[in-house]
Symmetry: C2
Subunit: 199 residues, 2 copies
């Protein structure tokens, strides 16, 4: 099975996934990293792991759909079975989502449906939540909305600072994302409506 | 310290609180149960515990505020320090909330801010959440919104039916509501904006 990661930033989740593939925890081929940001640090990480790294410049495309069509073409050429979003800062077009139905995963640093969108950890902190967490889900046409694969919780301890909460949430992400991908690769995820059963 | 419970239904949370007072886990006086529903089973529970039970008929009042003013008057007469909502099916008027600022608690069967409003457990189940829970919070002028006192999580196991999830959420409610009240009675809750610190 062939995996592609789409990312725009530092790529700490990319790193966790690449390690999980390298150590054979995930038995699949991480074929390509695609970025929309030339200076993203995740590109450095891809080089270290010897993973092909493609930068697609959004400025060369007149619309979101034409950009997404180009990415979809690359993914088809690489025979990708699973598209993993890891800090990819673009909303996918409905066209793209339809091309890869139930083949795109995203991770969100909160217990969805709470705190959709950006800044989720800080927003949960400011809200005064005592429990927050991480969600890995399939991507559908709405943002942070598709069927949930796995969730994990993080307790906000008394007097815990935002930085510490962020650290704990990210640590959990680096466990849950490889797990969700592993389950997918081993064909252990059964989707029925919004419910994802692990068989 | 004097506590009043406002309830409209079966009153399983009332039962848990009354037991916690009886066994001295909560060191306070549960002075009165007020209901807006003449046939609520919670009234039978109050009688069993020998707790004063007052039914206030909403039909005798022309507005929500006039109804709430009557309740507030009863609570002032009883020298109530803490108002506990336990399945009370009425939205409190801003007038009432201002009269008892940071002295009204509510419990919600979800991890707020997710699944505000009625039917929270079933909605979390249908959404496909892998983790849901319980929130005890102070009441402010918005529904299911005030500062969070305690939260606990419930894992939805593989193949778990809605009835089983409901049972587990309710069980957790019966632990967390007495705990939150105990902390309040012992003056261990310090509110700062939306954050409630346990000291």
């Amino acid at each position: 099975m062939n995996i592609a990661v789409l990312a725009s930033g530092s790529g700490s989740n990319f790193e966790a996934i690449a390690k999980a593939v390298k150590t054979n925890y995930i038995k699949a081929c991480l074929k390509v990293l695609i970025t929309d940001n030339e200076k993203a640090f995740v590109r450095v990480r891809a080089k270290r792991f010897g993973i092909k790294d493609i930068f697609v410049n959004p400025k060369h495309f007149s619309s979101r759909v034409s950009f997404d069509k180009h990415i979809a073409k690359i993914l088809k050429n690489e025979k990708i079975n699973l598209v993993v979003l890891a800090g990819y800062m673009r909303v996918l077009s409905p066209y793209f989502v339809r091309q890869f139905q139930h083949q795109i995963m995203n991770i969100h640093p909160a217990l969805l449906p709470a705190f959709k969108g950006t800044g989720a950890i800080e927003r949960a902190y400011r809200y005064g939540c005592k429990i927050t967490g991480v969600t890995v889900h399939f991507v559908d046409e709405k943002v942070d909305h598709g069927p949930i694969i796995v969730q994990g919780h993080v307790v906000r301890g008394e007097g815990m600072r935002l930085e510490e909460l962020e650290k704990r949430v990210h640590k959990l992400e680096h466990i849950l994302y490889p797990l969700a991908i592993k389950l997918y690769v081993e064909r252990k995820l059964k989707i029925k409506g919004r419910n994802v059963k692990i068989i």
